[in-house]
């Protein structure tokens, strides 16, 4: 991993069109500003991992559980 030290307001250029700037430092929090082309998705890492994990869990559904859920849903909607 490349390690660079930056101060407040200093930036890092990645390739031709990605720029990351240190906007604020408060205690153990760092606020970053990111400029990147629109086709590049930017996410907090833990959020991205949570979505990945949820998708993996969602892909595990079975036909039987789906049938049970459908029955429950019908009953529930009638209330």
């Amino acid at each position: 991993m490349l390690v660079l030290t930056r101060k407040l307001k200093e930036a890092i250029q990645i390739g031709d069109d990605i720029e990351i700037t240190v906007l604020a430092i408060q205690g153990d929090q760092v606020k970053l500003g990111i400029n990147a082309p629109k086709h590049i998705d930017i996410h907090r890492k833990e959020v991205y991992l949570a979505i990945q994990a949820e998708n993996n869990a969602a892909a595990e559904a079975s036909e039987a559980s789906l049938a049970a859920l459908t029955a429950k849903l019908k009953q529930w909607k009638q209330r």
């Binding site: 086709h39 949570a50 979505i51 994990a53 949820e54 969602a58 559904a61 559980s65 789906l66 849903l73």
Partner: protein, 144 residues
């Protein structure tokens, strides 16, 4: 062409029914082609992978189950999905069907947004939102 599916057996699909997910979905980056197959007698629509028969996500239209659900697509998403008008946009959320099924949840933090006219899809991860990956489909007290 015929494809094998998770819930529908072998299904004939037309090339124009295939929805392209240019970046796949998080965790499924290589899955770029899907079809939407409604599951008969249910409110569910299956997002079925064209190349992987065992991969089918269970989707619902969120607004009848979560009436207050709303989000804004940012400019980058509108561009990626090549959206010209709101009318072309279909929104679904992925269900995680649990056992027991009372605990089934919907992922409101990352809706599946589809440009139905251009047949481009993307699972959009909402930023700075209060929505989470798990919202119960059935309120806790209704569970019996």
């Amino acid at each position: 062409m015929n494809i094998d599916t998770k819930y529908h057996g072998t299904v004939a699909v037309k090339e124009e029914d295939i929805i392209c997910f240019p970046h796949g979905l998080p965790g499924f980056a290589d899955e770029k082609r899907f079809v939407l197959l409604p599951l008969a007698d249910t409110p569910f629509v299956i997002l079925q992978s064209v190349k992987t028969p065992a991969l089918g996500f269970v989707l619902i239209e969120p607004f009848s189950y979560f009436p207050a659900y709303e989000f804004e697509l940012d400019e980058a998403m509108v561009e990626q999905l090549d959206i010209e008008t709101e009318r072309d946009v279909a929104v679904y959320v992925i269900l995680t069907v649990a056992d027991p099924f009372d605990n089934t949840t919907a992922n409101l933090q990352a809706p599946v947004v589809i440009n139905a006219r251009k047949r481009i899809g993307k699972q959009v991860i909402l930023t700075n939102t209060a929505y989470k990956t798990k919202h119960r489909l059935f309120p806790e007290k209704a569970a019996t």
